[in-house]
């Protein structure tokens, strides 16, 4: 079988596996957040932390709960890293430097997992497990909770209540993430991912050199890294490391994990709004954009015709690729990790061809919607659906309504604020870095490639992706501090606007569909959303894309 056929077969199998899970997992997610029955362990937890599980929160109280929870999480994670030399199983590593500890705390609490450090050379086992891995569960649960609160904005009427954040985040963690993580972790470990608490071993190689073999509970960390769309690898080389992803099966299993919940969430949406076709329409938008991204990156990474002799001999642009997996698996992984907010990698994104890297950057700039980060993809695409309904209403004279709710100027203001926040953050941070001496000092590649690296870095941080183009000295204090702010504001400011929009929708009385209502369950609407997404993002980032990857690719 040719490598191209194997690549497409891999994509088809992955698509089939995700399609099989769509209905049962989506129904289960909807059940988790709609049932009145608590599990005993949940009741004990609410009692322990003093939560009134029946308290329904306004959108502003819901979002303040998120902020308070995240503030405490950042401070705890910061302290844990700074004091890790006092912790057991620290492998002799000193406390993490303050600027790096702050950046890392912001990164993991915001579900970004941007890493300015090499995990195996910086953090001990307890700091990773009780700090980073715990946040990988909780930050994912926060994202999905926001999406569910947003959906309640459509399902509820004449109320200003969106649910209880503490109940949502607890249920998501206990009923969804932990069970799948246990099963997924066992699959990874059974296939060779390491799981131990051994000290690092130093061995002498056949050539006489000394090599340190790291250990750690990697399999149990790897699963939530991908399932929760986190991306922070135990090892610096992330999912290209054989201890994290030992073989081609684990490679495709990891991709499956990172797409699993985001692709099933539209089903939960359809179930909760009592119209499954609404879910099908949104998941169709996600699949189209994801498939375009996979096809695009794979095409450019495999295109031997214009790559020169070395590329032709290697049957693809193999620089920076993990040879165990090849360029097709790299294209599939790179597209899947950038259209979600995962950021884990199995090949080096800085080594992607200019247009392949440009697609990865464009994917991130889409803002986590296809299928996006866990939860973040759902509320992101809902806002874009609202924008599409409004634009369609202007174009063809239809009444702007979506799922029985009117899209009034108030809702559009929230949607516009949501959509403008990330470009403002990304382009301001990138502009400051390019325009100041201190920012320029970290740019190691001149010209368009250096520009792409900076834009990619801030786009990745702001969109809570976490993958790095690398080649940028992001470990310098400027990038640690600015990056920390970019991740915090990139995560929470859009969530504030999304929940504000949900609150505004929940207060409305539902309007029955009329002859003037645009049917949002049709292929026409799917095409319109895809168009709105691509045009909005394309226009917003066109100058950066033109001066970066396009200029490099056309040089």
């Amino acid at each position: 079988m040719s490598s191209t056929a194997a690549g497409w077969l891999q994509f088809a199998l992955l698509f089939a596996a995700l399609a099989v899970c769509y209905v049962p997992l989506g129904n289960y997610i909807a059940h988790i957040f709609t049932t009145d029955k608590d599990w005993a362990v949940e009741r004990s937890f609410y009692k322990l932390i003093g939560i009134d599980r029946n308290a329904d929160q306004k959108w502003s109280v819901y979002v303040r709960s998120i902020l308070a929870f995240s503030l405490v999480s950042v401070l705890f994670l910061y302290g844990l890293q700074r004091l890790q030399h006092y912790l057991p199983l620290s492998q002799g590593f000193p406390g993490v430097p303050p600027d790096l500890a702050w950046n890392t705390a912001d990164s993991f609490v915001t579900n970004t997992n941007w890493q300015n450090y090499a995990g195996e050379a910086t953090l001990g086992y307890v700091a990773q497990m009780s700090g980073l891995v715990v946040q990988q569960f909780l930050s994912a649960a926060v994202g999905l909770s926001v999406a569910i609160a947003m959906i309640r904005g459509f399902t509820r009427s004449k109320t200003d209540r969106l649910g209880n954040f503490w109940v949502d985040v607890t249920r998501c963690t206990i009923r969804l993430l932990i069970p799948i993580a246990i099963v997924g972790g066992l699959v990874l470990i059974a296939n060779g991912a390491i799981e131990n608490f051994s000290a690092y071993h130093t061995v002498t190689t056949l050539a006489g050199a000394h090599q340190t073999i790291p250990g750690g509970p990697v399999g149990s960390s790897e699963v939530i890294k991908d399932l929760g769309n986190n991306g922070g690898g135990w090892f610096n080389t992330n999912a290209a490391h054989p201890f994290e992803s030992p073989n081609p099966f684990t490679n495709i299993f990891i991709i499956f994990l990172l797409l699993l919940i985001p692709f099933a969430t539209p089903r939960a949406f359809g179930k909760m709004v009592k119209d499954n076709r609404q879910g099908y329409a949104l998941v169709a938008v996600m699949v189209i954009i994801w498939a375009l991204a996979v096809g695009g990156i794979t095409l450019f990474e495999s295109h031997v015709g214009t790559g020169g002799t070395a590329t032709m001999l290697a049957h693809g642009a193999m620089e920076g690729k993990e040879v165990r997996f090849g360029q097709h698996a790299c294209g599939l992984f790179a597209a899947s990790t950038t259209v979600t907010s995962t950021g884990s990698v199995n090949c080096f994104h800085d080594s992607l061809t200019p247009f392949g890297g440009g697609i990865a950057l464009f994917d991130i700039a889409l803002g986590e919607i296809a299928p996006g980060g866990i939860g973040a993809g759902m509320y992101g695409i809902l806002i874009l659906a609202v924008v599409t309904v409004f634009v369609a209403g202007l174009m063809v004279g239809r009444t702007p309504e979506y799922i029985g709710k009117k899209i009034r100027p108030t809702e559009m203001k929230y949607a516009a604020l949501y959509f403008l926040t990330l470009p403002v953050i990304i382009l301001t941070a990138a502009g400051l870095s390019i325009g100041t001496h201190i920012g320029q000092r970290a740019i190691f590649n001149p010209g368009p490639h250096g520009l792409t690296e900076i834009i990619y870095a801030f786009a990745s941080m702001a969109n809570n992706n976490g993958s790095a183009f690398a080649g940028l000295g992001s470990g310098q204090a400027w990038y640690q501090v600015v990056g920390g702010f970019v991740m915090l504001f990139g995560r929470f400011a859009p969530e504030i606007f999304a929940l504000g929009l949900a609150g505004s929708l929940a207060r409305q009385q539902p309007v029955p569909a009329s002859a003037g209502t645009l049917d949002t369950r049709t292929p026409l609407f799917v095409g319109m959303v895809v168009g709105v997404v691509l045009i909005l993002v394309g226009l917003t980032y066109f100058p950066a894309l033109a001066l970066g990857p396009f200029a490099e690719g056309l040089h």
Partner: protein
């Protein structure tokens, strides 16, 4: 300002830097808190 920030981080001792970053965290979340308040005011 960027130069000053970078030098300050490098020159400050560990404990002072800890206080600086804890302060930055509180400031960031205070800004977000104020943003919520601003949106609430806009709603009215």
């Amino acid at each position: 300002m960027a130069e000053v920030l970078s030098r300050a981080v490098a020159v400050l001792g560990g404990t002072v830097q800890d206080l600086l970053f804890i302060g930055l965290t509180v400031v960031a979340f205070a800004v977000l808190w104020l943003l919520v308040k601003g949106v609430e005011r806009f709603e009215r």
